[in-house]
């Protein structure tokens, strides 16, 4: 009973943290085979589609100003696509068969960039 209440408390605290976390500014794509690539999403003019040949699967990652997402994967489980679009600092999505991960970093709470 007590443990369950503790869990509810932890879940509430976690949810609160998520609410207050700022949107990120950098998307880092890491592939075990492909290496690491970083994108400054706030200053991107056009969406980037990245085809990555992975270990046991090939994936396509789409990076836009709104974040990043796995949009294509030729593996059977398709788990990575279910992560949807990630956009908040600290969020990650991974495709295990391809050994590719994407994460958002560096949320400094900016609203816009003039350039």
């Amino acid at each position: 009973m007590c443990i369950a209440a503790g869990l509810v408390f932890l879940a509430a605290a976690g949810w609160l943290l998520l609410q207050t976390r700022p949107a990120g500014t950098t998307v880092v794509v890491t592939g075990e085979l492909a290496g690491e690539q970083t994108f400054q999403i706030e200053t991107m003019d056009e969406p980037v589609r990245l085809s990555i040949a992975g270990k046991d699967a090939d994936v396509v990652v789409e990076i836009t100003r709104e974040g990043a997402a796995f949009v294509e994967a030729d593996c059977p489980d398709q788990t990575c696509k279910k992560s949807g679009r990630i956009r908040r600092a600290g969020e990650t999505a991974v495709c295990l068969p391809a050994r590719v991960s994407i994460r958002v970093e560096g949320g400094v709470g900016l609203d816009a960039v003039t350039h």
Partner: protein
């Protein structure tokens, strides 16, 4: 036995404690998320992303309407769009006055004023030159000098006549291209939609031009970063509230290099070549979006001293400016006060009277 009862009572108390704390957190989170309830949409227009953050009642409709309005504006002012006001004026150059939309008319009038006040550093009739260099197509070669001289001679805003909602170009050799002020004008179109919809907190960015309305929930200002002219990252941040438009003209945006020389898209009508005034970027804050775009371009072409003098002619319509020189000096107008904070220590900040 007694010990067991104690533990049970304690466990109950602990359970109650955790549950009430969780309830409190949920309430707090709910309040935060309600106040932070915003509509964030990204669309694509004018060759750029259009990013909106709109708070308050009716935000979704307002954002949708603003996005539509920007598309409509593009259809009015892009010379590439068949049937746009500008295409019409270019097509009928050398003939009779044409009726154009009030918005296009106002933009052209504003552009002509900046042209006159800047001694021609900004021109709405830049089309012969801008089409010759055509940075959008990334041809990556320098046009022939004779062609540049010929095109430059055709850039003359006095050849555009405006009269009571109508306009005409005096001869066939002139043409209009106001692509340089489209993004700022688009920000203004969006902010106008927000205001009409009763929205009091919103920010819109069309490419690198930004329009701000009000402030964020809980009264904190919007944070708008100024991009670093070299590489990625930012030079500093602006804290903005109220209604203000921010535009930046920089030599890092669209350019190509030939034999180690950078040819950027900010053309100087006086020479026909990319402007070389010792600056790598200028940011202008103004009370109108098209105006901030036009002034940023003019200031980039003129350089710091003359640019500063141009902005002074606009009085309160200009809230401030940031000039970044090629030798990494960041010259910030005193009017910005502590609203600008330098964040890149590779640059040195100086405040100037303005």
């Amino acid at each position: 036995m007694k010990k067991g009862t104690m533990t049970e009572a304690r466990a109950k108390r602990l359970t109650l404690f955790f549950l009430s704390l969780a309830m409190l957190l949920l309430l707090l989170g709910g309040y935060l998320s309600m106040a932070n309830n915003r509509c964030e949409v990204t669309t694509y227009a004018m060759g750029s992303f259009v990013q909106q953050k709109v708070y308050g009642r009716g935000r979704e409709n307002a954002a949708q309407k603003a996005a539509n309005e920007i598309v409509l504006l593009e259809e009015q002012i892009s010379w590439r769009v068949e049937g746009s006001d500008i295409a019409k004026l270019n097509d009928t150059a050398g003939t009779v006055f044409q009726e154009i939309s009030p918005r296009t008319y106002d933009l052209l009038a504003m552009g002509k004023t900046v042209n006159a006040r800047s001694g021609g550093a900004f021109a709405v009739t830049i089309a012969p030159l801008s089409r010759l260099w055509d940075f959008d197509e990334a041809k990556n070669w320098v046009p022939d000098a004779a062609l540049i001289a010929e095109s430059r001679a055709q850039v003359d805003d006095e050849m555009l006549l405006l009269d009571n909602g109508t306009a005409v170009l005096k001869t066939r050799s002139h043409a209009i291209d106001i692509g340089g002020i489209g993004k700022g004008a688009a920000c203004e179109a969006a902010v106008t939609v927000y205001e009409e919809a009763g929205i009091t907190r919103a920010i819109v960015a069309v490419g690198g031009s930004v329009g701000v309305l009000g402030e964020k929930p809980f009264g904190s200002p919007w944070q708008v970063a100024v991009q670093c002219p070299e590489g990625s990252g930012n030079v500093g941040e602006l804290s903005l509230s109220g209604t203000v438009y921010v535009s930046t003209s920089g030599d890092y945006e669209k350019y190509f290099e030939v034999d180690g020389v950078r040819y950027h898209h900010l053309l100087d009508p006086a020479t026909g070549y990319p402007a070389d005034s010792g600056l790598s970027s200028v940011t202008v804050l103004a009370d109108a979006g098209g105006l901030s775009d036009a002034l940023a371009t003019a200031c980039f072409v003129l350089g710091f001293e003359e640019g500063k003098a141009l902005l002074a002619q606009y009085g309160d319509a200009v809230q401030g400016a940031i000039f970044i020189s090629k030798d990494n000096q960041v010259l910030v107008s005193a009017s910005l006060g502590d609203r600008f904070v330098l964040t890149d220590d590779a640059y040195t900040q100086t405040v100037y009277e303005g």
